[in-house]
Amino acid sequence: MNYADLLRVTLPETVLEVTALIVLIIDLGLLRGRALRLRVVAATLLGMFGCGVALMTIPLQAQGGLNFPGSDQLLLAAGGSTTVAQVGILALTVLTLLLMFDSTFTRNVGEFVAVTLMAATGGLLIAAAQDLLVIFIGLELLSLGLYILTAFAKKSAKSAEAAMKYYLFGGMSAAFLLFGFSYLYGVTGSTNLHQIMQAMYGSNAIHAAPLLYVALVMIAAGLGFKVAAVPFHFWAPDTYEGAPAPAAAFIASVSKVASFALLISIGTAALHAFGDAHVVRFVVAIQADRTPRFIGFATPWSFALTILAVASMVLGNLAALAQSSVRRLLAYSAIAHAGYILLALAYFSRTPASAQAVLYYILTYGLTTIGAFGVVGAVERASGSDQMEAFAGLHRRNPVLAAILLVLFLSLAGIPPLVGFWAKFNLFAAVLGVSKGVVPFALVALALAMSAVSLYYYLQVLKRAYVTPALDNSKIEVHPVTLTALIFIALWVVMMGVFPAILQEWMQSFYAPM
């Protein structure tokens, strides 16, 4: 390996880092003392430009990724689900930056944009990483950025409180993750996912099975925090509530895409790592001929994820019912959506079908949720609150915003023909495609029952927007750029729902060369 090879694989990351520095130089150096308006435009446009260039460098990435020096072990992957996730991260970062035009929470726009770009770099690294150390560095880079972004509204006590909670939980979960990684390294003697996988087939690893399970549980806990899975979700509602709208949108979309891309990498490795020796089985009944009847999970990993998935979708959806703050509602709904996705990761297929379904879900979810936070941010700025009552009469105060909210929330609820429905269908079809046993059927049935519950709380917000009369009839103004971005998002949610093949075929095009 030389630096030229490294550069060829990490081109998008490099471009983003350089852009972050340029943004800082221009904002702090050239535009110091200029009007805030100008600085917002300059920093945001530069950031978007950087993301655009990074997107264009993706086809130039070295095919097949980068190997560990002197071996054939992959260090950073490229192509396939990695590329899909990276393109998604960059595109969603652009949309997040567009929300900046409508935001007034800070005067330090340069720093905000720069930190956003650096966090996105972390996301890109995570999506590509195939080595425990790179994974950890990428996660820390992303997380540190997110803590800062959360705390960015310096005038708001909530923002500081949310950041502190987020930071403490994050530090703790990073420790868990590192602990799990160290066991994994100790048992298998490697930090490379693929080598770990091979080592686990060896007899030594089998004998160390208890340690391995501890490692997997620790890793599940660490990653469960990143995707806000129950019971590692406590930071999410506070963070979603306290963070400035663009930061919350970033946490809900880009960070989730990166984390799930990582779970896909680990899931692929874990799937191949376990032989039949590791099937987790429970006796559910004794049959007439006195032989026990089992329900089984393919691997301990899949069992751990199933528990997280069930807890997340049940608790997320039920807790969301009780929320009066729309941001907290979105947080709990994010937990529920993470639960659905974890189900597909628990029943992960050896073909790309599951990875594609997960990416499809998280990318479209990210897109939708950025739009949702855009609308929430605009309403909040006009009414000073994110309570449901602030949405009353939105259809009069800004019909366009109300229509966008309608489309996005119905998509989150999974109503066809919007994209959220296809994402769910894809996901659950992937689960049932892996296993047709009673357990996956029951789990999918539970997920669908829970998504029926979710319609209630999404309709609660929409009811305020369309049915309840407004408290004050003043118009809500949205910056035209942000409004255009929101309309664009809503149109894509409809378009991809009516023509679901668009995104699917685009994603498959990255798998074709592999």
């Binding site: 429905f421 269908f425 079809a429 669908l448 309709l459 369309y466 049915v467 093949a501 498959q508």
Partner: protein
């Protein structure tokens, strides 16, 4: 050409949403134009499709990687229900002529609902059918919660959640059938021939049947129906009773019975004469018939009487389906059409013609108003609708319910006996409501004093709507062959196997 009923309705919905907000007349007339165009397309399509069996209207790949196709097809059953939708849509616009609040939004949601309904009846791909089925949920919620009356937000939410739970059950069945068939196709025809195992059909059938049955008002999942109907604005309750409940029954017929026919096989044991899912659902249907009628008998709110009568009449549809014989199923489809027309008419009279003038639906208050003298048009319209609803010969309801009963007699006589009780009670509650609301001679000084002012005159859209619905019910009652020619071959084809 029939496909244009769908596109036109959705285009109309979009147009209404974009119309200027301060021109309600424009919104009304354009909605009427769209609904009329849909009716004309439906009628021409009906005439053209007669005797051609199942005709594929459109068939293009939709999601190629998953084998989902945009397939629209129509057989006799679809044609009849599309025609019903066209009639109900026009009638609904006519009876919404007095909507002043957010008129264009009202018609936007209204036409979106109509488009979804047309779509369900014409879909020949399970997936597409499901998509249209769910599209219909959201407009219902807003129609009721914005323009509704008594406990509208409660009724709207209840309806939306019941529908969504039902469709979640259907979605489980859909996913299961899709992943189990291995055919990589969601076409109704392909799935019916996919050779799904009997064991699979045994659990998929009740799941999907109940999922759709919820919307068909199947007892004991019917409770959304009375509250939803009562809360809804007139046009929405006309559509709810007229066509939306038929979506459920149609789904039971086309999807549950069409794809999983072995789900109705005997279990191999029986308890109290119940030996298969078919017996279970037939029993629920009979309970629905009797229960709906008995509850309608004691209601004090005029609209609740009609709401519960819908549960009772939809019981006949489900009972007819469960007979699994030619005459009973033909009767079930005819009953869908007939009840769509008659329930629409009843809701129009109670919700629009009477309530909008008297501002009460309490039978006790209506009693003192002498409506037969003050609103003779309403009284006579209700008499006609009422006798049609009781199943008097000459009206469509008679032919339909008679066929269902004949069908169920040859399948299981005791079902017929119990359903017969429902008919008798049906006469009683209709008579009671008619007597109390219109022809009572009670003199109550309070009411005369309170409601002594002149009631507004009947308007032309009301006359047009009532005349149209009465004419259709009479025409079908006197000459049912118009519809039977379409329904019978389609039912025969379904019974002959292949499900479709």
């Amino acid at each position: 050409m029939l496909a244009w009923t769908i596109y036109l309705s959705f285009a109309g919905a979009l147009l209404e949403a974009l119309l200027p907000k301060d021109k309600p007349a424009l919104a009304r007339w354009s909605a009427l134009a769209v609904a009329l165009a849909g009716l004309i397309l439906a009628a021409v399509g009906f005439a053209a499709g007669l005797g051609h069996g199942r005709v594929v209207i459109a068939d293009v790949p939709w999601v190629p990687s998953m084998g989902i196709r945009f397939t629209l097809a129509a057989d006799g059953i679809s044609l009849v229900l599309v025609l019903l939708t066209g009639l109900a849509a026009v009638a609904g616009v006519l009876f919404s002529w007095n909507i002043e609040l957010r008129t264009n939004e009202f018609f936007a949601f209204y036409l979106a609902l109509i488009g979804g309904v047309y779509g369900v009846f014409l879909s020949s791909d399970l997936f597409l059918l499901f998509v249209f089925y769910e599209i219909a949920i959201v407009p219902k919620y807003f129609l009721i919660s914005i323009w509704g009356s008594t406990r509208r937000e409660y009724g709207a939410m209840k309806l939306a959640l019941y529908s969504f739970v039902g469709s979640a059950m259907v979605l489980i069945g859909l996913l299961a059938a899709y992943t189990s068939s291995g055919s990589r196709s969601t076409g109704l025809v392909q799935l019916a021939h996919a050779g799904l195992s009997v064991g699979f059909q045994m659990w998929a059938f009740p799941l999907v049947f109940v999922g759709f049955g919820i919307l068909a008002g199947m007892w004991p999942f019917h409770t959304w129906a009375p509250t939803g109907h009562v809360a809804a604005p007139t046009a929405a309750s006309m559509l709810l009773a007229g066509v939306v409940m038929k979506l459920g029954a149609y789904g039971c017929l086309r999807v549950a019975m069409g794809l999983f026919p072995h789900g109705m096989d005997p279990w191999g044991f029986s308890y109290l004469g119940i030996g298969s899912w078919r017996d279970v659902f037939a029993l629920l249907a009979v309970i629905g018939i009797v229960y709906g009628a008995l509850v309608a008998l004691v209601q004090s709110d005029f609209k609740f009487v009609i709401g519960y009568s819908s549960v009772s009449h939809m019981g006949f549809v489900l009972l007819g389906l469960m007979t699994l014989n030619q005459i009973g199923m033909t009767g079930a489809v005819l009953q869908m059409f007939s009840h769509g027309i008659i329930a629409g008419l009843l809701f129009a009279i109670v919700g629009r013609i009477v309530y909008e003038r008297t501002h009460t639906r309490q039978l006790a208050e209506l009693e003192g108003m002498h409506l037969s003298k003050r609103l003779p048009f309403a009284a006579w319209a209700f008499v006609i609708a009422g006798v049609a609803s009781m199943g008097l010969p000459g009206f469509s309801g008679f032919v339909a319910e008679f066929q269902v009963l004949v069908g169920s007699w040859s399948a299981k006589p005791w079902w017929t006996g119990a359903a017969g009780v429902g008919i008798v009670v049906g006469v009683a509650y209709t008579w009671r409501a008619m007597q109390l609301a219109f022809f009572s001679d009670t003199h109550s000084a309070v009411h005369i004093h309170e409601h002594g002012h002149e009631l507004a005159a009947i308007t032309w859209p009301e006359v047009a709507g009532v005349s149209m619905l009465v004419a259709v019910s009479l025409a079908v009652g006197l000459y049912p062959k118009i519809l039977l020619d379409a329904i019978e071959p389609a039912v025969r084809a379904m019974l002959a196997g292949g499900g479709q």
